[in-house]
């Protein structure tokens, strides 16, 4: 057993491209799942059963089945009826998956805002929607920040799964490099280190955001 990291250095630009793709996908999915999760949570809490029951069923379905199964269904399954590019399937699949998890958090934090807040705001003359947007949701979002951060850290790690449906992110591009150089160990170790660094960065960012959020209370 001897290690040769020179192919890793040769293919480092390819890996960097992968890191870029991973981070870009992560950003899009984060925005989509947080904004979407907020919308889903509001709809499932404040509408009639006819609307929110199917929505809750979808949240439940996304949370009880594995991500990879959902991706296979979307990619190999829906592809028979409509043609969607792999990257769209990946981003949408991951986005919906984490949208369900984030919606679940938002539902809990919206419920945790005391009903006195709602009553006080209504008695001060705010309408129902205005109360929701200016009083309830900001407080609920504030309380959701730590858990949202945890979810997003988990999400970035799950981007690696997208390589299974052929999306050119970090792991997929390294697999390409491995198929040329036959150095799986060196490349996967490098990938692990890169992911660990991304993770460290995100954890630092999370605690920074949490401190800022706490200071603004």
């Amino acid at each position: 057993m001897e290690f040769d990291f020179s192919p890793v250095i040769t293919y480092f630009p390819t890996l960097l491209k992968g890191v870029g793709a991973t981070l870009l996908i992560g950003l899009v999915v984060a925005l989509m799942s947080i904004i979407g999760g907020q919308i889903v949570a509001v709809i499932s809490l404040y509408t009639r059963k006819v609307v929110n029951w199917p929505l809750r069923f979808l949240i439940w379905l996304f949370m009880t089945t594995p991500l990879l199964l959902q991706l296979y269904f979307l990619y190999f399954g829906l592809g028979q009826w409509i043609l969607i590019p792999a990257i769209a399937v990946g981003v949408l699949g991951l986005g919906f998956h984490y949208m369900a998890y984030n919606a679940d958090i938002f539902i809990a934090t919206i419920k945790s805002v005391s009903s006195g807040q709602y009553e006080a705001s209504r008695s001060l003359g705010f309408g129902h929607l205005a109360t929701l947007f200016y009083i309830i949701l900001p407080q609920a979002f504030h309380r959701a920040i730590p858990q949202l951060g945890n979810n997003m850290i988990i999400m970035v790690k799950d981007i690696s799964v997208l390589s299974a449906i052929g999306i050119a992110e970090l792991v997929y591009l390294s697999q390409y490099a491995i198929s040329v150089t036959f150095r799986p160990f060196e490349f996967y170790i490098t990938i692990a280190v890169i992911y660990y660094l991304i993770n460290l960065l995100m954890e630092t960012g999370q605690s920074w955001i949490e401190r800022r959020a706490a200071a603004r209370r």
Binding site: S160, P184, F185, F187, Y188, I189, I191, A192, Y195
Partner: protein, 218 residues
């Protein structure tokens, strides 16, 4: 919906679902021992040992399970580690969940008020006896609940083992989608099986939780 097809593929998926259960159960079993060892190492007297355990937990939690799986399965032979796919799934699953579980166990133990162990030590209980008779009974409830959450994550993560060609539920589902061209039926059936497994896990956790907290008054 093609009911006949669904009946036809049920035995195939059920067999694959059993592999999912087997791989998760074994990983959970070995993971528990790894986690206990890590908890012990984290409180060891020797500093480098503590430091090693902490960095192991940090690295495992900081890298994707998917990459760990690929590293051990495809990169393992380079350092003389040749595992068949099923064993590789169990081993990586156990070492992965062990790191998460050690945090769960530590959290449950630390949730017990420190006055409890101080009182117990001053009454003449030894370190081990304090843990066995005072701390663990009080932290068991929380510990079982958090390990239950991890068991559910483990079952869902086991789908990733399909990437190293273990024929478990997700692998079989993907193959059936490809051969039958009936994605909705296959997805519905395999999703149902995952849901049944998850609810069974939740039922067991709830049963153990009630047993463990029989004599605790809160």
């Amino acid at each position: 919906m093609d009911i006949n097809l669904m009946i036809e593929i049920t035995p195939l998926l059920a067999k694959a679902a059993w592999v999912t259960i087997e791989i998760s159960a074994r990983a959970l079993f070995f993971g528990f021992f790894i986690a206990s060892a890590l908890v012990a190492l984290r409180t060891a007297r020797i500093l480098p040992v503590r430091w090693l355990a902490r960095s192991y937990i940090s690295v495992v939690r900081g890298t994707p399970y998917f990459v760990q799986l690929l590293l051990v399965f495809y990169g393992g032979p380079a350092i003389g580690l040749r595992l068949d796919p099923f064993t590789c799934g169990v081993v990586v699953g156990a070492f992965n969940i062990g790191a998460y579980m050690s945090e769960a166990i530590r959290g449950a133990i630390e949730s017990v008020d420190s006055g409890q162990s101080e009182a117990s030590r001053s009454l003449g209980f030894g370190r081990f006896a304090t843990l066995r008779h005072i701390i663990l009974p009080q932290s068991a409830g929380l510990m079982i609940r958090s390990i239950g959450v991890l068991a559910i994550i483990l079952v869902k993560n086991s789908s990733l083992v399909s990437i190293i060609s273990v024929v478990e539920l997700t692998y079989q589902a993907q193959r059936l989608i490809g051969s039958t061209y009936k994605p909705l039926e296959v997805f519905a059936l395999s999703a149902l099986m995952y849901i049944v497994i998850l609810y069974a896990v939740m039922g067991i956790v709830e049963f153990l939780y009630r047993r463990a907290t029989r004599y605790t008054y809160l």
